[in-house]
């Protein structure tokens, strides 16, 4: 049994993983608890040291989080929509290729997939990927080409999972209480940009779910700051977005 055999065996063993039941919120709660214990222990040690030295130094300046999210440029969250045309046979072929791409990507140690878009009319599958495309996918593209389906790779900025994580953070943001313009507004919908460039958030009236007449800058800034550097397009609207 050589190295290649062992790699093949291990890959076969994890080819069909069970459903992921990791609780990210619990991770953050557990991490904060551990961090609190560590900080308490550090403070305790520091107090002891200070007592011996006879000098008291209390803390340092707590730096505020620096949040400088880029201002999204108009239209940068490019809508890419698949086409529904083409024969049923072509649609089935393209759907199968798209499924293969997603299955192969999910089996990689790092899944940098941003989106997969089917174009049956062109017998093409567009794969938006972050960073270098792994050989497993380029091999798959070669294989699909032999069956008549073209798999094209387009560079994306953020992976689907990274955008979904940002959505989790952004969707928890409430309208700033100290901003009169934001009162009565709420987040009504959100979604990832199809081109993998960021996320979209829709703002609506809390009372009737009608789209907000405008987006208060303070509300938009609060949403942007929740996700850091990733571009966020905040727009009036009430419908959920799929992307």
């Amino acid at each position: 049994m050589n190295e290649t055999d062992v790699k093949g065996l291990l890959a076969a063993a994890v080819a069909h993983p069970a459903a992921d039941r990791i609780d990210t919120d619990a991770v953050l709660r557990g991490g904060r608890r551990r961090r609190g214990v560590r900080v308490a222990a550090t403070i305790g040690t520091s107090v002891a040291v200070v007592a011996v030295a006879g000098t008291l130094v209390i803390g340092g300046t707590r730096h505020a989080d620096i949040i400088a999210g880029p201002t999204p440029s108009a239209g940068a969250c490019r809508d890419i929509t698949g086409t529904a045309s083409g024969s049923l046979q072509d649609q089935a072929a393209v759907a199968a290729a798209a499924h293969s791409v997603m299955t192969t990507a999910s089996g990689l140690p790092t899944n940098n997939l941003a989106n997969v878009i089917a174009h049956p009319a062109d017998l093409t599958v567009e794969v938006l990927w972050v960073g270098p495309v792994p050989m497993a996918l380029t091999d798959l593209a070669t294989s699909e080409a032999s069956m008549g389906v073209t798999v094209e790779f387009t560079a994306a900025t953020y992976t689907k999972t990274r955008m979904q994580a940002a959505l989790q953070l952004a969707s928890r943001v409430d309208a700033p209480a100290d901003d009169p313009a934001s009162q009565g507004l709420t987040i009504a919908g959100d979604g990832t940009c199809p081109d993998g460039s960021g996320i979209k958030i829709m703002i609506a009236q809390k009372a009737n779910n009608e789209p907000a007449t405008s987006v208060p800058p303070a509300f938009a800034a609060a949403i942007q700051s929740s996700v850091g550097q990733m571009p966020v397009w905040v727009e009036p609207g009430s419908a959920a977005i799929t992307g």
Partner: protein, 174 residues
């Protein structure tokens, strides 16, 4: 941890968790336990957030925590493997064609490999770590990892081989 760092951490978690789960599964052979190990490892990693942001890539440190949790888990009383009366039937490597159901045989074979050697096999041949990186993750020497890595495939092959069947042994001449 600030919001930016937390967003970065969550982003890293979402892209890396699948790989960590698979590594954990290959170590322990149980998806539920693998999820527990990874979740605990991620919580510990988050708890040392400063180290995460200063090193850039939290992967090596996450893997080191995961290895410690795995090895520590196996040391705890009551969590050790339970001996059974009958070992599941296995096939020889040459008889193997990889179809559904073979995963159980592989995991059974992996479970027979000593835990340290199993960890080296997973780190070297699944995570594609170098000798030095694997040694760092396991907190051991490079020479030890090199030795385990060279013997690992043989150990795995031996674990795959069928148990000797007493009924097939030559009859002793009376």
């Amino acid at each position: 941890m600030g919001r930016q760092a937390e967003a970065d951490f969550l982003g890293w978690v979402t892209t890396s968790r699948a790989g960590l789960r698979k590594t954990a599964y290959l170590l322990c052979g149980d998806w539920f336990l693998a999820d527990d190990l990874v979740q605990d490892a991620l919580a510990r990693l988050y708890g040392v957030g400063g180290r995460v942001s200063s090193s850039g890539d939290p992967g090596p440190y996450a893997r080191k925590i995961l290895m410690n949790l795995y090895l520590d888990h196996r040391r705890r009383p009551g969590r050790r493997e339970v001996p059974v009366a009958y070992v599941p039937e296995t096939l020889g490597v040459d008889q193997h064609n990889w179809v559904d159901g073979d995963r159980d045989r592989l995991m059974t074979a992996l479970a027979r490999v000593p835990k340290g050697q199993r960890a080296v096999l997973v780190l070297r041949y699944w995570d594609d770590l170098s000798i030095e990186q694997a040694a760092h993750a396991l907190g051991t020497s490079a020479s030890n990892v090199r030795s385990q890595a060279s013997r690992g495939p043989d150990a795995l092959r031996a674990a795959f081989e069928p148990e000797p069947d007493p009924s097939n042994s030559p009859e002793e001449a009376l």
